[in-house]
Symmetry: D2
Subunit: 418 residues, 4 copies
């Protein structure tokens, strides 16, 4: 029911580590199964057994993967077949000056990455924005969805069902909401095609990202529907219309997670002084980039939102796979008559949480706390900080691309790693 539904038969605990696979097919597996412990797979023993197993099977010692300070007892619900950790370096950027409705003031932003210059580049953008008076952030929408598709024998039957859904919305909402304390069903969008009805069940989900919550609630709603609809009903809980972990136009139009704007007006002189570019050159470059975005058909007419978002997601325990959709971006800029530069980014499908998922793990929680974003009632604050970080990064890279034209090639060529 999550993005990664589990099947009872695949539960680690259902397969004792000592017992060989029944091998129902004729394709014998030449390598042994991974050790597990059905009683407590997160205890020191089975973890060590797996590390030892890796050493035996692959010759890799896992000296560093085995080094961690987190308590494995905190991991059920976050990982199976736990082996150790990836140590991803965290750098600190900022301070980032945010004038949000939920985030107010200056923030130091932890960025987990292995991409050299990323932290420096974002810091540089944050400095520019700070000196311009800070970034204004606004959350425009907040909704998470699950998208069942219902199949019928004809378009007319699908249409009749669509009408029935509208008539019974209150009861369906009640069934959905019985499964959750924090989720609320806002509406059901309906997209009929052929003999099928694609839907989007849209929810608010409190401080959780909500993919599991909405999956569970929608499954309950569908169970109620199936029971009460006066005709036979076939459905799939997901018809690829919520495009979980996949970017899509429908999510960009209609919001998945938070829809957040970050905006700023940069004085021309400040841009010239800090970024060594004139705002009219910056604008001309942006217009060329925008046409490039249109022709290449991308989900993002900006520069590199994925860099900052990914680094914040790893640091703060977000579901990093959501970068696929959370990095979608609408950029809009204006060159003002006085030469100042208005810049904005709108993130239409930013999926963040300050509760659940990986947010409570050891380092992840610390990074959320560093931002003042751990726990209840903080998720919109986090969304605003992410959006402001993205805008700072857009301005930094956007300026660097323009300034490079005038840089001597040789100076530049030496300083990058292959």
């Amino acid at each position: 029911m999550t993005g990664v539904p589990e099947d009872p038969s695949s539960q680690p605990s259902s397969q004792p580590s000592s017992q060989p696979s029944s091998q129902p097919s004729s394709q014998p597996s030449s390598r042994p199964r991974i050790p597990r412990d059905r009683d407590d797979d997160y205890a020191a023993g089975p973890i060590r057994a797996r590390q030892e197993f890796v050493r035996e099977q692959t010759g890799t010692a896992l000296e560093h993967v085995s080094s961690y300070s987190l308590d494995p007892a905190t991991l059920p619900g976050n990982i199976e077949n736990f082996l150790g950790v990836a140590q991803v370096p965290v750098g600190l950027a900022g301070p980032l000056l945010v004038d949000g409705e939920h985030a107010q003031g200056e923030f130091y932003v932890p960025l987990a990455t292995t991409e050299g210059t990323l932290v420096a580049s974002y810091s540089r953008g944050m400095k520019l924005c700070r000196e311009a008076g800070g970034i204004t952030t606004t959350v425009l929408d907040d909704r998470m969805q699950r998208a069942p598709v219902f199949s019928f024998d004809s378009a007319r039957e699908a249409r009749a069902f669509s009408d029935w859904l509208v008539e019974h919305f209150d009861e369906i909402a009640a069934a959905a909401q019985a499964t959750t304390t924090s989720g609320r069903l806002l509406d059901i969008q309906r997209f009929p095609v052929s003999k099928l009805l694609y839907t989007r069940f849209n929810y608010t989900t409190g401080d959780a990202a909500g993919q599991n919550m909405t999956g569970k609630a929608t499954f309950a709603a569908c169970a109620w529907i199936k029971q009460h609809y006066p005709a036979e009903l076939h459905f799939l809980l997901e018809g690829q219309f919520a495009t979980d972990k996949k970017t899509s136009v429908v999510n960009m139009l209609h919001t998945r997670g938070k829809r957040v704007v970050a905006e700023i007006t940069l004085p021309a002189a400040l841009v010239e002084e800090q970024m060594h570019v004139s705002t009219d050159k910056l604008y001309a470059a942006r217009m060329r980039g925008q046409l490039g975005s249109i022709m290449s058909v991308t989900n993002n007419n900006g520069n590199h939102s994925a860099n900052g978002i990914t680094a914040m997601f790893i640091a703060t325990g977000q579901d990093v796979a959501n970068v696929a959709e959370s990095s979608a971006l609408y950029g809009f800029s204006e060159l003002l008559p006085n030469g100042d530069f208005y810049a904005s980014v709108t993130l239409p499908s930013l999926i963040v949480a300050t509760y659940g998922g990986g947010t409570g793990l050891a380092t992840q929680r610390e990074c959320l706390e560093l931002l003042g974003c751990y726990g209840s009632g903080k998720v919109l604050k986090l969304a605003e900080i992410v959006a402001a970080t993205v805008l700072a990064g857009e301005l930094s890279l956007g300026s660097a691309v323009v300034a490079e034209e005038w840089v001597q090639a040789h100076d530049d060529l030496g300083r990058n790693r292959p």
Copy 2:
């Protein structure tokens, strides 16, 4: 010149930690700047200074972020303002049976994630595929690009330049390749529009992901072009036609990184036995998902490639922001006359490296070694393993969605976390 170009003025070492900012604008920064050390910012002192600074400024102790086994001396080129690490749990999936041209045999796959059931779900798909005889993988293409846009006063001038580029390809390639030992300029694609010429400089880049290499080489090429073109020339090194860190149709059509296929034919009986679904139901569901993908307009007509790719990318030191584009997927399946199920995924823009970037860091290198993919000559092997992992995950989740229709709601509702 990388995805995150750096500007000399933003280099950490250029700004001594003790010296206050010159504060050219009237917006005073109320919070202090992050401590740095211009001599060796990766020494224990400045790292500890930043940790202490965070504690003072935010009240967060960073007990776990400060706990790591990696050697900070390995970090220059990967992170600035290093503070500590994110500990991301790694689970082990597999064995995954791959019949590739570069990856041969069974692999245990390290997945770094905080998303519960992800490892279990992928393992379940790997078991299914193993018992079906393994996954066949094929690398179809390999190219990395940088995409300068050239601006002129009229369409005719742009067209003349386009012709000139073709005539001088060999010299341009020589200029580009002078900057790199492993990169080779394959061709220059040209997309004229208005008075602009958008280009894509396509390279092979050996075992590196190559974004920096191609940036440097293309900058050198553009310097040569600017010097030799018999008229004035304005260009931007990136016209948003390589869409680095952004998914795009042009990259899906023309490949960015590796274009890899993973394919398998699953016996109907095996699917029924392992996944508790019939292949015709599985196929019908896939067709509905595909239409949903078309209508929602996504870069991925599969289920959740981003999950497996992200988890492998974090574990193995890839540039995780590339998930935005690497998770793009073309799925193609067939229900064979005998009921067996042919399934394939094509990843058209998978960006992986076994050299450079984060691949040499402590835990990341161990995870690459675990896969037998560390170092020179291994990048296509890694690409094949990623593609096979993705296919296993697609089949696991795809089956689970179908099987859920028949599951009793109540049994299901209890087992997920909010």
Copy 3:
């Protein structure tokens, strides 16, 4: 206010033919202006004057363009600077057996085209469908829109306005509907981004296509809004979110004009007998075409809906430029367990009228009458016939492509025109 707003100063009647242009710029026009008559530009005199003018200026006699039976007195509101007519050949296809909710029975379909084999190909598909029991058609939705964009100084102001719109919907609807007897404002969709609010004012428009009606009504609504909104307001009547005369995802998702489905189940033996292909080959071809559609990123995963739609639009006096969006198509097919073939097309943005525009002109009205679709209350019937025609054409061409593989090349090569 229509797709082609007129400006008072550009009205033909405002510029007497005898008076020379004031020529404010220094670029003298070397060729004379087109003759007009400010009193009655549709009288025989000015028409003949223009024909004579063409002969003098270009040497073209216009023998055929000048031959028409329509009465020019019917043309005001349809054309300016009337010169004569294009004679587009009309062929008759059918009978087409339709089981619709508005179209019932067999129809002979007039197709205006110069594309050889088009009528034959559609007729062949209609024969197949007739023998399979006819095509079922269903109208799923009906809405026409105008899409103003409102600009503010910040995202928060845009958001506040968006809320205000919701609160004042009834008054806005009243203002809009005061301009029309047949139009009704259904809802206002809102898509916030940056400091802008893009909207879609969705209407039902009776038997008219409704682009003018919705333009006029929305202009009135915006006038009311501007007058009553307690802050300054800047808007454009069209923010390219209704994408008039342009296909778009938003229109395909949310309907522009009629959303119509045509569906049929074809017996395997009938397909084999009539089309000389097996249904499994037909289905395999369709799956390849669908993947091709996904990769090429088209607005239409079918074959050639534009052919039938264009030919019907020219014949029946529709606004033919709407083919750009009306030809968008979602195809969905299934190979049934018994080998029969379920086929459907969904036209999500079919813009048709049986009143207004060109529907009342001489030949156009006759062709509508031939279909029993002229005048009030007929528009959904026409939409159903168009959709059924499209489906017939899809099956005909789809089959032909498959059958061609087995055709001897030489037989085939002789029979087409270059």
Copy 4:
């Protein structure tokens, strides 16, 4: 082999009008078949028989449809079951001042439409552009394609075939070109996915649109390939990668038909005087429209290219269904430092002909002659005139939308037709 392949069994002449259908299915057709004459279906007799038939079957007299001056003997190859004509009013716009490489001077442009104000609006734009010194046009590319897809048992076999195609290009080109005197195979683009290879065979096609020519040539090429490839080969002549009659990203990127640019720089004072808008307002509106285009995901970030293109296509005997793809447009504008306005349109998939298809029919030929575009060697001239017309129309409507904000609502409301 054309967009609308014909099957021998569906040929009108093969089914004598007097002989009843064999009615193989049990669904009896209740309405009679359309009369045909196997000997000469374009003679007066069968035409009159069909007109009479329509009168009997539908009660529609077809007084006007039956009135035409064209000679039906010219129609074989253009229409089947000829019944009469649609009389589409033609208006004259212009003069249009073009500074092209193929079109030079002032042109009067025939526009066939029933959309009131269209001719006036285009004329107004042409006047503006004429006074600004005329429109510069440039043809950037010229290619027509057919796109076979080849199916294999595995991705590796598909890749091997792809390599083989490259090695045998010369022989394949020879086989293709043996079928045509004017077509030339430029290259074969290859897009591998799964176990399939999608291709695009790109040709130049002289003055013909070339869809039939490329179909025939590619069929011959595939026949040669099938005969010589050393393994079994399955292909479909069209894999939906040429997207004939459908707009697509691949066609916009890589050109289908002509890729033409029209560009102009408008003095600020002239725009103000003629269009009653300032260029900065015009530019601000365009930027909002562009973002609307990005969000709505359209194939056209302009205003209404389909209007002008359709009207010219009907008038000049083009295949009007191609409007679906020919109306695709990339717009690019700049507000220059002095306030002047640079505007351009690029039509990336404009399909036009001055030979073949409907270009030789009675009124169609006259309209081509009026433009000086009939016959051999004229197709690029026609392409340039179409592009210039489109640009004029863009500027006219774009200005009108902006000016309307300031118009009194009541003045405006009276003047449009419902």
